[in-house]
Every structure is written in structure tokens, then in C-alpha cells.
């Protein structure tokens, strides 16, 4: 069953002669239990795709349906609630609050969303899997790039969302950690029945994906270059 559905999405930036067509008639579906990769060169519209899929911005036309709800019709507050309860974002930059220790980053999630998060056992298992269980009392400034990224992943997963949207989650990781994160994302999709959508340059992740899409000139294709909507 589809948890995210993008129907005929178009997104324009600017107006008049400087109008740019960033996404063109994009159709996309992600189901529970799937790990889907979206690859593409810089400026191809990957991040726009991700932010529209996560309800951070609205399309110029088309529909975004998350958990059977038309998100493009939602108010700002409703979209906030949707992201808080159903969507976990793993982002590249500035992903952690600099003055909170790792355990406090997770506490912050509990403060904002007291229910529905991972329980203590599940959290311990998650931290252990990510290899950050001994970093809980450290500040982001005391972590390496890879550790920071793993903590960001842990924070997104701790809220136990049905949908995980990740923007270059392995950008700062070495090959060994890429394998760990790849397996974790796959396991997350399979055993916890989540829909995981990853926007990335990292070809090392493709071996874990159920499907790989490519964005080119605003159009979304399956990796075999067949347009998805055709």
C-alpha cells in the first residue's frame, strides 16, 4: 500500500523569462517495506523532490498524498504535525542542535512528541547498530562528520515515523559505515515496514535499494531511463 504518492507534480521557480521548470510531471509512489533511491546530478531537482514529498513545500501543480491525506491542501500547521508524526528527515547540513548532547537531541524529540517514539530497548538497539551508543554524552562539536550523520539518522528514526526521507545520509561516511547505514535503512524498510526514500549521489547504496530512480532535467526516470509515468 502506497504511503507516499506524488501525482503529476510540477514545480516552477521564478517568473517571466527567469521561470525555471524544476520538476516536470513527476509521478512517484513509495510503499511500506521499500527502500527507494533517487539519484541525479546537482541542480537536477532532487532536493525539491524530497521537500515536496515531505510536505515542506507545495508543488505548483499536482497532488501529494501521504497516508491517504492530500498534503498539498494542508495548512502550514497541519504539515508541521504531519512531519512531526509521520515523516522522519535525515538531512545533510546543520542537522544537530549544537548545544545538546546526543541523548538530549533524542530527549528533544520526546519533549515535542511524547508518544509513539521507540522504547528504551529499541533505542538502545538502534544506537548500538549505528555504533553511537558510547557517544550519548557528547556534544556535536565532539563528533566526527560520520558520527554526526549517524546521530542525525538515529534522531530521525527514534521518532518512529512511517516514512523516512533522507538527503545524502552517507555523504560523510566511510565505506564500512555506508554498508552499515545501507543495511540499517534496508532493515528499517523491511523489518519495521517503513517507506524509506533516499536522495543521494552515493552509488554504494544502490545494492541495498529496492528501486533506484534518476532525476534528469526535472523528470523522474527509473534507473533504466524509462520514464516512470510511461
Amino acid at each position: 500500500m502506497a504511503v507516499i504518492e506524488l501525482k503529476n507534480i510540477n514545480k516552477y521557480f521564478g517568473s517571466g523569462t527567469s521561470k525555471v521548470h524544476v520538476l516536470s510531471d513527476v509521478n512517484f509512489t513509495a510503499e511500506r517495506g521499500q527502500l527507494i533511491l533517487v539519484v541525479g546530478p546537482s541542480g537536477s531537482g532532487k532536493s525539491t523532490f524530497l521537500t515536496i514529498a515531505g510536505g515542506l513545500q507545495t508543488p505548483s501543480s499536482g497532488n501529494v498524498i501521504i497516508e491517504d491525506q492530500a498534503v498539498d491542501q494542508f495548512s502550514k500547521k497541519q504539515r508541521d504535525e504531519l512531519r512531526l508524526n509521520h515523516v522522519g528527515f535525515v538531512l545533510q547540513a546543520y542537522s544537530l542542535v549544537p548545544y545538546l548532547k546526543v541523548r538530549e537531541q533524542l530527549e528533544l524529540v520526546t519533549k515535542v512528541k511524547p508518544k509513539g517514539n521507540l522504547d528504551d530497548r529499541e533505542l538502545k538497539e538502534l544506537l548500538n547498530q549505528l555504533g553511537i551508543d558510547d557517544l550519548v554524552n557528547k556534544y556535536p562539536s565532539q563528533l566526527s562528520g560520520g558520527q554526526t550523520q549517524r546521530v542525525a539518522i538515529a534522531r530521525a528514526l527514534y521518532a518512529n515515523p512511517e516514512i523516512v526521507l533522507a538527503d545524502e545520509p552517507t555523504a560523510a561516511l566511510d565505506s564500512a559505515r555506508v554498508i552499515v547505514v545501507g543495511k540499517l535503512l534496508k532493515e528499517l524498510a523491511k523489518t519495521r515496514n517503513k517507506a524509506v526514500v533516499v536522495v543521494t549521489h552515493d552509488a554504494r547504496l544502490t545494492e541495498f535499494a529496492d528501486m533506484t530512480y534518476e532525476i534528469m532535467d526535472g523528470k523522474l526516470y527509473l534507473k533504466d531511463l524509462a520514464p516512470v509515468d510511461k
Binding site: V22, G45, K46, S47, T48, F49, L50, T51, G54, L56, Q57, K77, D80, E81, L82, R83, L84, N85, V87, G88, F89, L91, Q92, A93, Y94, S95, V97, P98, Y99, L100, E104, E107, L108, K111, V112, K113, Y139, A156, A159, D167
Partner: protein, 354 residues
């Protein structure tokens, strides 16, 4: 509040500097308002002790007690009751051998009228004849004692201090209470015609019943004391500007800190953390910083109040200082409004890209 406290605890130096500035501003505001109140009190202490509601002066005296004279005929026509008292006021220099000269305000009273009757003596007794005086406590602090013989200006007549009274200052000078006869002598006035400088009334609607006299409300009379309004306005402006400076400081600092942390706030917004919660964070931060600054400033003020020498014209009016503290807290909230608006309108997409 959670994020606000965590950030302050983590960035101790940064926030200590902001608090230090708020402490200095609070301290300055409290000391200045203490001085303003103290000086205002020293202008009006004696008048306040008379419980005056209205004052009758010579119509042509330009609301100036020193320039006002009232004749015996006018006093008789005014039909004074037990709620009115005639006073004669004159600036004098009090001298005594081997002691420093004191600039003072001589106030002549009639022993049978309410001001003389109600005069509270802190030590000694009330004056009983034309050569006896009751002086403000300031004289005692400056070494004058009961029984001391003093002279006024260049006069050779000697007067004896028989009592001291507290809180008797007029126009920032200590008051020496004596008789109206002595006042006439000091003013070199022909005896029998001029009775005094003013009629002080405990009732608001008292009229002098003479076209040469005019009744003024006590507050208007005080506002016309030489230098009184100008002094209060000056202090008022200084305190007002300090309030505005505190607002600017908190606004500028929080704005800079917010701009630096905007990408982080954007990420938190992307994760669905409501803008209202983040706005509350910045408002809480401002309130915590202001409250810390105000409390430390108040402690410093209290220490200063203990150390300040007697006689310094400073008086701490706790309800007024509390109102100023609340005013400073409000300035903090207003100062945080601009960065709060920035957070409320941050667009996560701009930080993430796309």
C-alpha cells in the same frame, strides 16, 4: 524553555556577557531612580511632613515661597482654622564656632497652629520662645548638638537648638524651625505688617479670600519648586533612555544569535517542531537573561544601599523599583520579538536547498 536553558548553560561566556550588560544597565537604572527619588524627597520632605493639600501665596510671587509675603490683614481675612498654618520661609546660613557653616531653610511657625503642634521631635523638645530652634537631623549628623548656640547669616543674635526632627528638608537644604517673629527679624521686615510667606492648608479647597492671594494645589506648588521639575525630567529621560538601551541590547544580541542559529532552527522546523515552540524558546531565553540581570543588578543595588554614607540623597522606593524591573522584563520581551519573528518565518527549504 528546554532549549533556552540548554543553550544558556552550554554557551556560558556568551550569555554571561549579555547578562553582565543587563546587570550594569539595571544597576544604573536603580541607582539613578534612587537618586531621583532621594533628591525629589529632599526637595519636598518638609512639605510632605506638613500634610499640605493646598498652599496660599502672594499672587505676584510667581509660585515662589521665598518671594511671597502675606500681610496681617490678609491672614485675618483668610479666617484660618485648625487645618491651616502660617509659615515664614527664608534661606539662611547657620553658623557656630568651630563647626562648618550649613546652608539651611529657616521656617517660622506659630506655636498654636497645626504644623508646630504636629512637629515630630526625634530628640530634645519643641521651641518655646523666639530664640529656640528645632533643626533637621542633618545638623546632628554634622556635629551640632542640643543646647548649641548658633547664629544666622551675619547677625549677632544667638539662637539655641533645643530639638532635632527627622525628614525636614526643603529644596534639598535642611530646615530650621523657629518662630515667625524670628523670620521677620531675618527678613528685616517692619514688625506688625507682614505676617509670613504662605498659608499651608491640610484641606484642598481653602481660599485666601483676598484678591492679592492665590491658592495652589500642593502638587502644583511642588512642581514649581526651583529646579524640581527640571531635575525630575532629567532623571526621567536618563532612566527612559537606559530602558530603551536595554531593549536595543537584548534585541541586537538575540538577533545576532538567532541569525547564526537560523539553519538549525530551519532543520528543527523541517522535522516538524512547531514554530510556536521555537518562538517560546527565544522569548524564554530573553526573559531568563533579563531576570538574571535584574536580580544581580538588584543585589548590587542593595549592597550599594548598605554602603552608601548617611546624607547621600538616595532613596530606594521598592514598589517603584519593582515596577522598573517589570518594565525591563517587558523590554526584554519586546527586544526578543524581532528575532522571534525571524524564527517564526524561517523557511526550511532555503536551508535544505531545492
Amino acid at each position: 524553555m528546554y532549549l533556552a536553558l540548554k543553550e544558556i548553560r552550554h554557551e556560558k561566556l556568551r550569555y554571561s556577557l549579555i547578562v553582565a550588560m543587563i546587570v550594569m544597565i539595571t544597576y544604573l537604572i536603580f541607582i539613578l531612580s534612587g537618586l531621583a527619588t532621594g533628591l525629589a524627597n529632599e526637595n519636598t520632605q518638609a512639605i510632605d511632613s506638613w500634610h499640605a493639600k493646598s498652599i496660599v501665596l502672594d499672587r505676584d510671587a510667581n509660585v515662589n515661597l521665598s518671594q511671597s509675603t502675606i500681610t496681617n490683614e490678609q491672614v485675618n481675612g483668610a479666617q484660618l482654622t485648625k487645618s491651616q498654618a502660617l509659615i515664614g520661609q527664608s534661606p539662611v546660613v547657620v553658623k557656630q564656632n568651630n563647626r562648618k557653616k550649613e546652608s539651611a531653610q529657616f521656617v517660622g511657625l506659630k506655636g498654636a497652629q497645626y504644623i508646630a503642634k504636629d512637629l515630630v521631635i526625634s530628640s530634645g523638645r519643641k521651641a518655646q520662645n523666639n530664640h529656640e530652634l528645632v533643626a533637621d537631623q542633618q545638623f546632628k549628623m554634622d556635629g551640632y548638638r542640643l543646647g548649641n548656640q548658633v547664629k544666622f547669616n551675619s547677625s549677632s543674635t544667638q539662637y539655641t537648638i533645643v530639638g532635632f526632627t527627622k525628614n525636614a528638608k526643603l529644596n534639598v537644604a535642611p530646615v530650621v524651625y523657629g518662630s515667625l517673629k524670628t523670620w521677620q527679624t531675618l527678613r528685616n521686615l517692619p514688625s506688625g505688617n507682614l505676617a509670613g510667606s504662605a498659608i499651608v492648608s491640610k484641606t484642598a479647597k481653602f481660599s485666601g479670600r483676598d484678591k492679592g492671594l492665590k491658592t495652589y494645589s500642593n502638587s502644583y506648588f511642588i512642581s514649581k519648586l526651583p529646579g524640581y521639575s527640571a531635575q525630575n525630567t532629567t532623571f526621567g529621560f536618563m532612566i527612559g533612555f537606559l530602558m530603551v538601551i536595554s531593549l536595543v541590547i537584548i534585541a541586537v544580541f538575540l538577533y545576532i544569535l538567532t541569525i547564526q542559529a537560523l539553519p538549525m532552527y530551519a532543520i528543527l522546523r523541517a522535522q516538524g517542531i512547531p514554530a510556536a515552540r521555537l518562538v517560546r524558546t527565544i522569548l524564554s531565553q530573553s526573559l531568563i537573561l533579563m531576570a538574571c540581570g535584574i536580580v544581580i543588578g538588584a543585589i548590587l543595588t542593595a549592597i550599594t544601599a548598605k554602603l552608601i554614607p548617611f546624607g547621600a540623597p538616595i532613596f530606594f522606593n521598592v514598589p517603584m523599583l519593582s515596577a522598573m524591573a517589570v518594565g525591563l522584563l517587558l523590554m526584554g520581551i519586546i527586544g526578543a520579538a524581532i528575532p522571534a519573528r525571524k524564527i517564526a518565518t524561517v523557511d526550511p527549504v532555503q536551508v535544505i536547498g531545492g
